[in-house]
């Protein structure tokens, strides 16, 4: 396929969709599948055929739609009506009422168990209304297993534009202009990273997509990989062109078999259609992607550990400098970006860096995907502009606290992040504001806790996680996390003393400043932030009369 064919195919695919009057999307993200959406899909397809509606109604499986705990979800287009908790018994009723009688079933509408009057157009619900989908765009509307579906939504046009109209410098300038920052957690400017890799001269360079999303409670990357794998592939290919790499690796968690399957399938389809491989779209640029499956090690989210893992070794990090941009995979310059970062590349190139840079806050441009979980009414996946306040996310998008409880804290950034207490509910969710509260943006996990949560236990839980996930190479992280965990356990068990608390604080600073990699450097965050905002809970647990 060359560039003109691409346009033709894209138009054809659009035509094909236009011939249907109705489109029904069944969410087949991992969450909905586990509540039985595949059965719903099969039954629905059968029902449509039995009623002879197959030329009128298109039924497709899609990626994640967002409100995961209301699944299985079925979306009816063009009205954009979403039905929740659909099971095989409801299907006949839905088809009859929605397609034949053209009136929605109120009892089955999304969030009907929370709203007295649920919305017929789901976009009117605050859950969707407040969102701005850029990285997640099309996720939930297209069939992730069909490249034609992606093409019908202008897929690979950005790659075409880049390959034929832009120089690598142009692409990097555009990304720099967008002010996009790495969505993996640390928020390093993406354009700058690309430029650094671009500047190193080497025969071989690599692009790595970091899909080793290991934070408990985070599933943004999984949803993107499952719901729109071609978007990530296209982003990686553009990155490859910009930095001068011909080979890419997608490192995906072994815990995500569906994401792996769909991504591998998407690579095959892309290769078959000349969108990957030799001389992409008839240009001089060749790029190939291989999937590497993670084997259950959180530390492999760290760049240098991830590289070691791709090389088939123990996933232990190396001291930086040298940075992977200079000497990464197999000692060659390597660009590593997170899944969400790659998913943001295509819209930036389609709409321009200027457009993207105007979304969000001055220092943190664009949008961020969050995975809402914990004691919140609507848990699931959302994408909001940077700078949206925590209050909006929890109480408007998230529908408030489950069971009418009281908001106590929100934990962001998983085991590397911290807790934000109720008095900071108005904090703007961007890199700097979260950092100033002792938390981090992280990959986007957001766990809401109510008044029943014990913050010492929260800190202990995350410390246990870091202790188990420490690679064991450097002393501060290997012994320090174990020590901090034991001290936290002691305090949690009511056996701690004020000296233990003192030592804990000293160790936290020490581990943070001396650890070899990001895991150790951020492992004390949950402890430090709970100590900062909920110190009284620690003090109530310790024995005071030590001296």
């Amino acid at each position: 396929m060359n560039r003109n064919d691409l346009k033709v195919i894209s138009e054809k695919a659009k035509e094909k969709h236009k011939k249907y009057k109705h489109k029904i999307c069944v969410c087949c993200g991992a969450g909905c599948i586990s509540s039985g959406s595949e059965g719903v899909l099969l039954k629905l397809q059968k029902e449509i055929v039995e009623r002879g509606l197959q030329n009128e109604v298109e039924v497709i499986p899609t990626g994640c739609m967002g409100p995961c705990n209301q699944g299985p979800l079925v979306k009816y287009l063009p009205e954009n009506t979403i039905y929740q908790k659909v099971d095989c018994e409801n299907i006949s009723q839905i088809v009859q009422s929605q397609i034949v009688e053209k009136k929605p079933i109120e009892d089955l509408l999304l969030f009907s168990d929370f709203h007295p009057k649920p919305f017929i157009n789901a976009h009117d619900d605050p859950f969707f209304k407040k969102q701005l989908k850029i990285a997640l765009k099309d996720c939930g509307d297209i069939n992730p297993e069909e490249v034609e579906d992606y093409l019908a939504y202008d897929g690979y046009l950005a790659l075409g534009k880049v390959l034929f109209q832009m120089s690598p410098e142009d692409v990097i300038a555009e990304i720099k202009h967008s002010r996009l920052r790495g969505r993996g957690g640390a928020g390093f400017p993406t354009g700058l990273k690309w430029e650094t890799v671009y500047k190193y001269v080497s025969e071989e360079k690599y692009v790595i997509c970091n899909g080793d999303e290991g934070d408990p409670g985070a599933f943004m990357d999984r949803s993107v990989l499952e719901g729109n794998p071609h978007r990530v592939i296209e982003g990686m290919a553009i990155a490859g062109y910009a930095v001068g790499a011909n080979k890419g690796f997608a490192y995906i968690r072994g815990e995500y078999p569906l994401a792996i399957k769909r991504f591998e399938q998407a690579i095959k389809q892309a290769k078959k259609n000349g969108l990957l491989g030799n001389k992409i779209l008839g240009s001089e640029f060749s790029f190939d992607i291989e999937v590497r499956i993670g084997a259950g090690a959180f530390v492999c989210g760290e760049e240098t550990a991830l590289i070691a893992s791709i090389e088939g070794k123990r996933g232990t990090p190396k001291p930086r400098p040298p940075f992977p941009a200079e000497s990464g995979l197999r000692g060659k310059p390597t660009l590593i970006n997170n899944v969400e970062t790659f998913a943001s590349i295509v819209p930036i190139l389609n709409n321009g860096g200027e457009w993207y840079s105007e979304i969000g806050t001055p220092k943190s441009a664009g949008t961020k995907v969050f995975a809402l979980a914990g004691k919140i009414n609507y848990s699931g996946l959302i994408e909001v502009p940077m700078g949206t306040s925590l209050r909006e996310i929890v109480f408007e998008l998230g529908g408030g606290i489950q069971g009418g409880g009281e908001f106590k804290a929100a934990q962001t950034g998983g085991p590397s992040g911290g807790c934000i207490p109720a008095k900071h509910l108005d904090v703007k969710m961007d890199y700097e504001s979260l950092m100033s509260l002792g938390s981090i943006m992280g990959s986007g996990g957001l766990i809401v806790m109510d008044e029943k949560s014990d913050m010492v236990d929260v800190a202990r839980y995350f410390m246990e996680f870091c202790m188990d996930e420490s690679c064991g190479k450097c002393v501060p992280c290997r012994v320090g996390t174990k020590m901090m965990h034991d001290l936290l356990q002691k305090i949690y068990d009511g056996k701690g003393t004020s000296i233990d608390l003192e030592r804990l604080e000293e160790l936290a600073i020490y581990v943070k400043e001396t650890s070899l990699c990001g895991l150790g450097a951020s492992a004390p965050n949950p402890l430090q932030s709970t100590l900062r905002h909920f110190r009284e809970e620690y003090e109530s647990k310790i024995e005071q009369d030590i001296d």
């Binding site: 090690a297 530390v299 123990r314 190396k318 001291p319 400098p321 202790m467 188990d468 996930e469 420490s470 690679c471 064991g472 190479k473 450097c474 002393v475 501060p476 290997r478 012994v479 320090g480 996390t481 174990k482 020590m483 034991d486 001290l487 002691k490 030592r503 000293e506 160790l507 020490y510 400043e513 001396t514 650890s515 070899l516």
Partner: protein
């Protein structure tokens, strides 16, 4: 190699570029503490004792893996660095069983010397007391996990100098242990050449020869450097 100017602890130095901070310090008699560095094998930056402050860099960097750059301003012994060195030492002592009579008797243990250097008078953190094995299966040598500090000098000597790859590390976190082959007894190793270099590389009493009365244990880590230097000269 071109010469560059750097400043270490307020001392102006003209040094060759391309060297690590550790090399420069050692050449200029500035003491840098370290346990995992061994002349002759590659550095891993694992013990974190050699951390230094560099002006303009907000992180502490390991001297053994960071190369000097022009006009770098380095501090090696600030109060913060000293405090951290002491904590690191305490953690090393707290991790396993270092109640050892040999080093007390002959004073030749690098770990013990480290304790004196950082003026450690006690271990302020709860000791972990793990149950560790002692592998005596090799006909000549012993591996005592109780004394091991996971500096991996033996692993690197075995792979980089001897080329035998007998040693590696198993598990992760605080459960890491040195292993031979498939985590099998050392005496059954199919790769070990019994060269004994790992014994000299080991900074503590984790590896030692059976033939020597323990009180006379005297390690010569410098033989690794000498060997590698000879090799470089083609001898």
């Amino acid at each position: 190699m071109q010469n560059i100017t750097i400043y270490i602890d307020d001392k102006k130095l003209e040094v060759e570029s391309g060297k690590t901070i550790l090399e420069v310090c050692r050449n200029n008699n500035i003491e840098i503490l370290t346990m995992c560095h061994l002349e002759g094998v590659l550095d891993v930056g694992a013990c974190r004792l050699c951390l230094v402050e560099i002006e303009g860099v907000n992180k502490l960097l390991s001297a053994c893996t960071t190369k000097v750059a022009a006009n770098m301003v380095i501090r090696t012994s600030t109060e913060r660095i000293k405090r951290y060195q002491r904590i690191t030492t305490e953690l090393l002592f707290a991790e396993r069983n270092h109640m050892c009579s040999v080093c007390v008797a002959n004073g030749k243990c690098e770990l013990q010397n480290l304790g004196y250097k950082v003026e450690m008078d006690s271990i302020r953190y709860p000791r972990l007391f793990p149950q560790c094995e002692v592998d005596t299966s090799h006909s000549w040598y012993v591996l005592d996990h109780n004394r091991c500090i996971m500096c991996t000098r033996c692993v690197r000597v075995c792979s980089e100098v001897e080329g035998a790859f007998n040693w590696s590390v198993k598990n992760r976190g605080y459960q890491v242990r040195i292993i031979s082959d498939f985590n099998t007894p050392w005496g059954e190793s199919t790769t070990c050449t019994s060269c004994g270099k790992c014994l000299h590389a080991c900074p503590t009493g984790a590896l030692w020869p059976k033939a020597i009365v323990q009180g006379q244990l005297d390690k010569k880590p410098e033989i690794i450097e000498e060997l590698m230097a000879k090799r470089k000269m083609g001898l």
